[in-house]
C-alpha cells in the first residue's frame, strides 16, 4: 500500500458489478461536491424570492425580503468551501483567477461567484440596509455602533433623495440580479450537463433543471427560516405572506417536476446506448435515493400537501404545520436530487458495462462530518448576520435622534 492511497479502494473492487474501466473504481467527486450545488441552489432560489418583492412588486412577500437576501448571502459565503476542501491542491486554486482556461466551464466559477457576491448581493444588501444602519449607528454604543458605521462605509446621508436613490439602485441591481442568479446556478448545471462522456449528466436540460430545483429549494428554505425565526422570537407569522410564498413554491415544484419528468421520459423514449446501464443504475443503486427520497418523499408528497393546503380551508395552525412539513420534505428531496446527479453520475462505468459503489468517508476531509459542518455553517453565519442586520425595516418616519 502506497502512502496516501485511500484504504477503501481495494475493498471496493469486490463490490463492482459487471465490468468497469480499472481506473474508474474511485468515486472522484464526493459528498462535498453534492453539498456545493445544493448550497448554490439555495443562494439562487432565495435571491429570486427576494427579487419578487422588488421587481414584480409582490407586496405580500415583503416580510421575508431581507431574510431572503441574508439567507442568500450566508449560503453564498460558504459555497466555495466544499470546492476548496475537495481540491488536491487548494493552494493553487487562485490560478483559476489568474490564468483561467477560457474553454473550461469550471474556470468561470471565480468570475461568476465574484460577480454575484460583489456585483449583486453585497451591493443590494448595502443599498437596502444603508439608511437603517445609519439610523441604528446613531442610537447605539460601541461596538455595534462602529460595526454599523463601517458597514455603511461611513455614509451619513438619510435625506429623502438619498433614500429614493437607494430604492432605485436596488431595483436596478435586482433586475441585473435575476439573470445573475440564473447564471450562478445554471452554470453549475452546465458543469455537469456539458460532460458528453457521461450520459447521466450530459443533457441540455441539466442547467434548467438545476435552476428550477434551485428556486424550489431556496423558497422552501426561506419559508423554513421565516417560520423558525418568528417562532423563536415569539412573533406572529404573517399568514398572507406565508400563503403567498407557499403558492410560489407550489408552482415552482410543478415546473421542476415537469422538467424532470420530461428529462426522464425523453431518455426512456430515445433509448440510447446507455439506457440499459442507466436502468440498472436506478434499480440497483439509486432506487432509494431517486425513487423514494427524491421523487416520492421529496416531490410528490410535498406537492400533495401543498395542493391540500390550497384546496381545503384549514385554519392557520394546520396550514403552518402542512407548510412546515412540506418544506422539510422538499429540502431532503432537493439534497437527494443533488446526490443522485453528482454521485449517481459516477456509479456506472463509461464502458456502460458495470456499476461502482460509493463508500462515503465519515471523518476524513471529504467525509460526512465535513459535509455536515459545511451545511451547518450557513446557519451560524445567518445568525450572526441577523444580529448585525435586522430583518425588519425600521419604521418610517425616522426617529428623533437624527
Amino acid at each position: 500500500m502506497i502512502a496516501g492511497i485511500p484504504k477503501g479502494l481495494s475493498e471496493l473492487m469486490g463490490q463492482v458489478t459487471g465490468y468497469i474501466y480499472p481506473n474508474e473504481i474511485e468515486i472522484h467527486w464526493s459528498i462535498l461536491i453534492v453539498v456545493y450545488p445544493y448550497i448554490t441552489g439555495l443562494v439562487a432560489g432565495a435571491f429570486i424570492l427576494a427579487s419578487l418583492v422588488k421587481v414584480f412588486n409582490v407586496k405580500e412577500v415583503q416580510p421575508t425580503y431581507r431574510l431572503s437576501l441574508l439567507t442568500a448571502l450566508a449560503f453564498l459565503l460558504v459555497a466555495p468551501f466544499p470546492l476548496l476542501l475537495h481540491l488536491g491542491h487548494p493552494e493553487r486554486s487562485f490560478e483559476i483567477f489568474l490564468t483561467p482556461h477560457l474553454s473550461s466551464a469550471m474556470a468561470m466559477f471565480g468570475f461568476v461567484y465574484a460577480w454575484y457576491l460583489m456585483g449583486v448581493l453585497l451591493l443590494e444588501i448595502w443599498f437596502e440596509y444603508r439608511r437603517d444602519l445609519i439610523v441604528l449607528a446613531g442610537q447605539e454604543r460601541f461596538p455595534l455602533k462602529w460595526i454599523h458605521r463601517v458597514l455603511t462605509l461611513f455614509s451619513k446621508d438619510v435625506s429623502d433623495q438619498a433614500v429614493a436613490f437607494d430604492r432605485k439602485a436596488i431595483k436596478a441591481i435586482t433586475i441585473i440580479g435575476i439573470p445573475s442568479a440564473f447564471l450562478l446556478h445554471g452554470y453549475v448545471g452546465f458543469i455537469f450537463g456539458s460532460v458528453k462522456a457521461n450520459p447521466w449528466w450530459g443533457s441540455v436540460l441539466m442547467p434548467i433543471v438545476f435552476l428550477m430545483s434551485a428556486i424550489v429549494s431556496g423558497i422552501a428554505m426561506v419559508i423554513f427560516l421565516y417560520m423558525v425565526i418568528t417562532a423563536m422570537r415569539n412573533e406572529k407569522i404573517d399568514m398572507r405572506c406565508l400563503d403567498r410564498i407557499a403558492s410560489f413554491l407550489f408552482y415552482a415544484v410543478i415546473v421542476d417536476f415537469s422538467l424532470e419528468a420530461l428529462d426522464f421520459i425523453h431518455r426512456l423514449y430515445e433509448s440510447e446506448e446507455s439506457i440499459k446501464i442507466l436502468g440498472k443504475l436506478i434499480s440497483l443503486k439509486l432506487f432509494m435515493n431517486l425513487v423514494v427520497l427524491q421523487i416520492l418523499l421529496g416531490m410528490l408528497i410535498p406537492l400533495a400537501i401543498l395542493v391540500i393546503a390550497r384546496l381545503r380551508h384549514f385554519n392557520e395552525d394546520m396550514r403552518k404545520l402542512l407548510y412546515f412539513t412540506a418544506v422539510i420534505l422538499i429540502q431532503m428531496g432537493i439534497f437527494s436530487t443533488r446526490w443522485n446527479v453528482v454521485i449517481g453520475g459516477q456509479l456506472f462505468s463509461k464502458s456502460f458495462r458495470g456499476l461502482m459503489t460509493y463508500k462515503m468517508e465519515m471523518t476524513g476531509l471529504e467525509g460526512l462530518l465535513t459535509a455536515l459542518v459545511l451545511l451547518a455553517l450557513p446557519f451560524v453565519i445567518l445568525t450572526v448576520l441577523i444580529r448585525i442586520l435586522p430583518t425588519r425595516r425600521l419604521q418610517d418616519p425616522l426617529p428623533e435622534v437624527l
Binding site: Y19, P22, W29, P90, R92
Partner: protein
Amino acid sequence: MNKRQFLKGMILFIPAGQLLETLARQAGAAETGKKEPARQDAEPDAGLGDYRPAEHWYGMGIEIDKCIGCNRCAEACKAENDVPAEPFFFRTWVERYRVMHDGEARVECISVNPQQRRADREGGDDRDVLRTFFVPKLCNQCAHPPCVQVCPVGATFSTRDGVVLIDKDRCIGCRYCIQACPYGARYFDHRANIADKCAFCYHRITKDLLPACVEVCPTQARIFGDLRSKASRLVRFQRMNKVGVLKPALNTEPKVYYAQLDGEVR
C-alpha cells in the same frame, strides 16, 4: 447619498480596481516568468534540443488480432512511468472480451497479479464462447480532447506533436478532466494529488525512442508512429488495415487506431 456623491465614489473606486488588477498581473507575470524563463511564443521549442514538436503528429495503431493478453505492456508502463502498483491505476491496460453464444459480452481487465491472472484464465466454461479477443487500452491522445477543454487552469494541454500532457505544477486536483474522459484513461495520483494519465512516454518519444508498452510488446500488436512521416510504421499500418477508433460519436478524434475492432468494444 445623492447622485453626485455616488459618482464621486465611483471615480475613486474604478482607479483603485485598476491598481489591484495591475498588481495581480505583475504577480502573475512574476510567477509564470519563474517557470518559463524563455517566453513560449518567442521560442516555443526551447529546451528540447534538436527536437521540433511541430514536425511530428503522433499516434498509435493497435492490431487486436495480434494481442495475446500477456499484459507486458501494462507492467512495463507501470515500471517506466512510476504508476502506483495497485490494480486500479493504469496508464494502459488490457481487456479480455469473451462474446458468448447468447450475444452477451463478458469483459474483464487482465490483472497485474499473476495468480489472479491464472485464476481468471482457468475459470469459466469455454464451450459457450463464440469469439474471444484482447483489447489494449490507453489514453487516446484525442485531437479534440474533452479533458483539455474542461481543465479550469490549462494544466492539461495538447502539445504541437499531438500528445495530451499534464503540467504537474499547475494541476489543482479538481478531477474535472477525469470526469470528462470518455475512456476512463485518467486516474488520480494520490501521492502528488494531481490527475495523471498516459503521455505516450513523452520523455522517450522526444528522444526518438518508442513508448515502453510498444517496446516490450512481444507480438508487435502496438505500433507507434508519426502521422506526418509517410515512411512511418503507423502510416503503413493505416494503409494496410481497416481501422476504427473508440467512441467515434463523441467527436474526440482519437489518435489510437484499432485494426479488427469488434463492435462490442467500448
